[in-house]
Symmetry: C2
Subunit: 186 residues, 2 copies
């Protein structure tokens, strides 16, 4: 029976067999752009923004949040590799809207296994093995997409290592239509 690792390796064999001129791409992004967005499986930033290999840095985490690590990546992107146009893209129906720090901390204390969501919110199925460690993490959840986009734009703009030359814009991606809408600063 085939598994995901074999399937990925097979797909990669086909991709690398037709690699063509991509072998000559250089490290700095050709279009001097970086996109910060969510890890959500429904989002393909290259496809929804019309990018090809070599064009832009893509930074992704749960929520597309301007975490310390996203800022680490953005600073490297500008300082060493010359990007000067950054997009922050959050999206509708984001998993980060379905919980908060307290919910996640409590779920993880009981079990590390996958929980299920119902009308009354998240619930553990298994009660196998948990850890209090989740209570020490800020999960960077989202209450309202426009607010989270504006907060992240503000955090990036006011960071002492972000050059004033960067052009920064925020967008909301709609997972039901594929449409990207610019969100004007609050």
């Amino acid at each position: 029976m085939s598994n995901i690792f074999e399937e990925i390796q097979n797909a990669n064999n086909a991709y690398s067999a037709n690699f063509g001129s991509k072998k000559d791409l250089v490290m700095p992004p050709a279009r001097k752009t970086a996109i910060l967005t969510c890890m959500d499986a429904r989002l393909d930033p290259a496809k929804f923004a019309g990018l090809v290999e070599g064009d832009a840095h893509v930074i992704r985490n749960a929520g597309g949040r301007a975490s310390d690590d996203a800022i680490r990546s953005l600073i490297i992107s500008h300082k060493l590799l010359g990007t000067n146009q950054w997009l922050v893209v959050h999206h509708t129906d984001c998993g980060m809207e379905t919980f908060n720090n307290e919910v996640m901390g409590n779920l993880l204390v009981e079990s590390l296994s996958t929980a299920t969501i119902g009308k009354e919110g998240w619930k553990n199925v298994a009660h196998d093995h948990g850890s209090p460690e989740g209570k020490y993490i800020n999960w960077l959840t989202i209450e309202d997409q426009r607010s989270s986009i504006n907060e992240d734009l503000e955090r990036i703009r006011s960071h002492p290592l972000v050059s004033k030359k960067i052009i920064l814009r925020g967008y909301l991606y709609d997972v039901r239509t594929g449409k990207l809408t610019e969100i004007q600063a609050a």
Copy 2:
């Protein structure tokens, strides 16, 4: 004159005009997979791993490192959205191999603008406005790709919030050939 934001919006108009059945995709990744990889512009994880919208979580940062934020994202990916197969993919010719914490801290003290790299390493061009803040950040640079992959696998495996049920594998992506090679644990 067109700019990147207009170009992206135009590309997105074309993408969303043919969105089709993607409108019905659900939040949990269909192939129960998460990929942690680098933000490098030359990498398109969907293409190099044969993924389509809805298949897998994609987490990206500078280096594809198992930072606290990448771990935050991976825990959410398994605990709430059911992924149980994770890939860590670093790559050849990574920008993270070209500097270390000291170099980056010193560059940023002098200027926030883009530096250039020559035979003697990174050098500032502008000396406009800097900040000591870069000296307080761990940039998570890479000395050797096999070591960084193994360290990240080890950090993820031994994290108290990572379920033992997760199948975790490390890979090196070659930017000259497009090939993905599994890296066996050291």
